[in-house]
Amino acid sequence: MAKYLLNRIIRGIVSVVIVVAVVMVLLFTLIDKNYIFMNDPVYSKRQQNDREAYKYQCWENYGYLEYIPYSEYLEELEREGGISREDRFAAAAFGYTAEDDTEIVARYVKQYREKYEAEGFTFVRLDALVQNKALGTLMNGGSPKIFVYRNTPVLVRLWKYFSHLITIDNIHYVEDPIEDRGLTFTLFDPLYGGKKFSPAIMGNGTYHKYLLYFDGTFPFIHQNLFTISLGESYSINTGVDVFTTMVQTQGSIVKSEITFPAGYVGQASVDLHTAAYSAGSYSTWDGEKWVVTTEKYYADRYVDNYTLVEKTKASLSKTGFSFTIGIISTFIAYVIGIPLGMAMAVNKDRFIDKLGTVYIIFIIAVPSLAYIFMFRAIGKSIGLPTTFDVDNLTAAMYVLPIASLALPSIGGFMKWVRRYMIDQMNSDYVKFARSGGLTEREVFSKHILKNAIIPITHGIPGAILGAVVGGIITESVYSVPGTGGMLVKAINFYDNGSVIGLTLFYTMLSVISLILGDIVMALVDPRISYTSKGR
């Protein structure tokens, strides 16, 4: 069993990697890379050469290519000691066109060009766009640019993506020369005044201050040691990672009385457990000693540079909403759908079976959009709220989205349970059980049901994990701030980073669900075994 599972997991990981590679090829090669600027306000504001440079900068950020402007090269050169500071300034002042360059500029530009062209980069020099020749004034965005770029091959992109997937926080993260780097374990979290029992692991020199801690919100134990980055999004939640977008809380800000590390007590909405290192916010290292900031805000509140905190918001995260709705509707679907399917099978060809069949046909054949709007219209007529208000949540708001997700799955369960049970009803062991004198009740509950339910159990892990994905139409119809619409929105906005991140996330969910489904099936049915070679 263990060997089989290991094999399955390895094959699963391989297929996840291939899926991401396929999606990358699909997105990065088939779709014109200029499309990503369609909804970018910065792009439409920039003009001429500035726009051109901005494009390459963005393409680098989103993994299309490597982009190195001339000034960056000179800075790098200075850091390595290849050029003095004065020379750097002189070399950086390149002219409007190549002919205008001074001797030192021409030398360094040539060196720059030769160095990168040898590495396969393409050299681009955009001449200044002069508006008025006599005055020498430039057009808007017409300043000259020098840069090199190189397209990133898919394999390199894939490698970069997976190597940045999980970051483990470590005590060497902070570059400033701070003292006593290390981890401390405490049983009494200082944020609770140091008296309440609440274990925490804190770090100094790490990016996050709290690596493991307990607090009052679900799931009560939290960690900052591992950070998952699925890919930066630029349309759904500009500049923020997809995974963070999915799990961060939403809605209005909640203020409460907070005691800051430096003793300041006041109304604030920050979650101090999320504190991350922000160089120079509290004190700066001037080469010899630490200089504490004069900014009153930081000086009053903090005792170190861990000042980057997240705001506490009132509502659930996107995943939280989708999962709440999804898990309840899945539960309802199992609880109602399976008994109904059983009732249909027991009363085959009688009224209840025919009524159920009509419902199944309705669910299968009618476009899902149509019946979701129909449920909404019915819900509205009986006075249920049809839109989700994140800041004033009531239980009634959940009713319609849950019903819209549950009703179709009930139809699905009815169909399959009926099918499986009827198939079992004609098998020899059932005839034998009947001839042995068992009552119909015993035949159904002890023999048919046990066998018919096995294929149903295979889908349970998938249904639970799949609840995170959310329903695209349901969520948009009831304006639920969930994960359902994220993929479609990302596709529509050409947000490649998000698309890849979401694909990876969904693929992992489906691979895990299938493996778990096989395990559950083997647990329920002792005849199924993954060890024997005979299978």
Partner: protein, 331 residues
Amino acid sequence: MAENDKLVDLSEFGLSDEELFAHYDNDEMESERITAPRYSYWKSVFRVFFRKKINIFFIVLISLIIVFAYIYPLIIRYDPEVDPWKFVSVSEAKHLNPAQAVSYHGFSIHWILGSGAQGQSTFDSIWYGSSISISLALICAAINMFIGILIGAVWGFSKKVDIVMTEIFNVVGNVPYVLIISVLVRILTGSFWALVFALTITGWLGIAYFIRTQVIIIRDREYNLASKCLGTSIFRIAMRNILPFMTSIIMTLLATEIPSYISYEVYLSYIGIGMKEMSLGKIIESTQPFMFVKAWGFEYWSPVVIASVITVVLYVVGQNLGDASDPRTHM
């Protein structure tokens, strides 16, 4: 005894033994003939199909749908470039309910469902849209079923192909379908054939996988093993032993496939990945904002109801035809 009374006394006929009894030669050929009633597959299919009287009603509905979707636009010479825009400049002609439309334009079949946002006839545009949606569904189902059954059969028979194809299925099945479709529709600029291409490029995989599982189930049955032992070729086994068994499965699959493409087209239009033509999905998507405007709700619900009727009718007829095409129901 009482039973003896029923026996016929041959002497009553007054015939000699030679006249009563003639010698009959033992005929080897005759003994091989099976005296079962004549059986014609397709005749039986239709006999079983029409045994349910409700199917006649559905067949009538399906013919009506075909007439309205394909012949009606030809008769009225519907031009999608011109007709929807005829009354675009007449503000009184827009958003009319059926009663208002009939009183405004005078009674004709065009206005029995009222008019839409451009003053166009809802009835005409729905049926023109239906013809696009039904064509899309039929073409996609035909392509996907053809490729799917062909590859699924090979996939089920050959163990080597099975290993490769299962891995391909695991990978492609995990790439979100919406993503593949939207990328292709974007590149190919959202025409009808672009959508057909996008729906069929990976759409056959699911069908092939389904067929593969069915083939594996019957492949190793005893009668097939017996056929194989007697030296029947794989092709003949596939055609004579397995295909008849699969007809009902294929028909049932087809019954779910065709309506599912119509539904899927509606769904794609809703999330903004539709085609340019005013298909049913496109109409539903464009009239969706009017759903909650009291006087205009009709514009939204009429295409939805017609789309639902079309899908339900196609599904039910397909299912019942699937049942009827199963030789086991021909008893």
